[in-house]
Symmetry: C2
Subunit: 211 residues, 2 copies
């Protein structure tokens, strides 16, 4: 892993880095879609691992890195998940090659001696429950988004969803731990024939302004 | 905009889509870094707008799309932001070409007739303050992460940070609106010579498991 960054086409000054090519932008953002139906094609563990390895490099507050994931893929795992699912998510989730339970570790600060070795960052959190909750949710959700885009980057499709009982999932998969579920992501090779038309987005002016 | 997705090298069956090339993965994840110092190079509005246009295509709960951004770039804007900054973030933020205030609109549901036209999704939220708060923060933070990666995708560098007074920022920039600040992102062309070594990350086995 490089300790100092210099993009291949960027020497620290001019020429400035070019943007990713159109195919990459399409894959990540413009043509990528939330998939509800997947091809009957297995998902290699190596690709899931690569997506995690990519996502974990993204920035989090104080490098806290609270994201935790359980990849549910066996019949036993799916059966454990099934009672937590809202009816509208049931069939598609049971049929998906893999369902990731994306969560965050409320005791993330116990990893800070490894993650943030240059200061006693653990002490900034311990005893401050509001700050712990904010950081776990905020940085864990940032990492979940990096993970969605990382799945797309390695050629997989994602179907992120709410619509499940967090408490039931936590009881089934995280009992006795400090991990809480955030949301679910069905993963596989999406069946483009089963997509609905894309929903509208806001205009730039509805989202952003300059000051 | 395409209504049905077919990646250029993917016809709905085999061959499966390849992953992005190594240079793209480096740019987005592996070699990208949180920058604290930027080159004295202006940031074109067109690139900021393109990053927003890319980020807005990422998935959110019920397509709620609560992300809102103010790009602070003028002397007047920076002066308005200055009193909100923690001392450790002050000098680098005042020097950054652009600072994005990334927030979420707590009244996001008023846009649902446009964003989710096939059902009265607005009614699912109105009066349910806990669900509104959860959705604004969760989906607004997902979109903030898409935006960080979109900045990198268009060739810019990002320096996301907490360490500011949310209430002061909200008063200075969002008074009389329903928008709340989430975090800040300094934006520009990063000065690679000013980077610290990258902090460690967790091992795959500390993050993820299979069930």
């Amino acid at each position: 892993m490089n300790q100092v960054v210099n993009f291949k086409n960027f020497d620290g000054a001019h020429p400035l880095p070019a943007k990713l090519d159109a195919e990459a932008l399409d894959r990540l953002f413009r043509e990528a879609r939330t998939h509800n139906a997947f091809l009957d094609t297995p998902v290699p563990h190596a690709l899931l691992e690569e997506a995690v390895e990519l996502a974990k490099m993204g920035p989090t507050a104080v490098n806290t890195s609270p994201l935790r994931i359980v990849f549910v893929e066996t019949d036993e795992g799916k059966a454990l998940l099934e009672p937590s699912l809202a009816e509208g998510n049931l069939a598609k989730t049971m049929a998906a090659p893999v369902t990731a339970i994306v969560g965050f570790d409320m005791a993330f600060y116990d990893k800070l001696p490894k993650l943030f070795p240059h200061a006693d960052a653990r002490a900034w959190f311990v005893g401050n429950d509001a700050f712990i909750d904010l950081t776990a949710r905020q940085s864990g959700t940032l990492q979940a988004a990096y993970f969605i885009l990382a799945l797309r980057a390695v050629g997989l499709d994602a179907g992120p969803m709410g619509g499940f009982d967090n408490a039931k999932v936590d009881e089934a998969f995280f009992a006795g731990t400090t991990v809480k579920s955030n949301f679910l992501i069905n993963i596989g090779y999406g069946d483009a024939d089963k997509l609905y038309p894309r929903s509208p987005r806001l205009d730039f002016e509805e989202i952003a302004s300059f000051a």
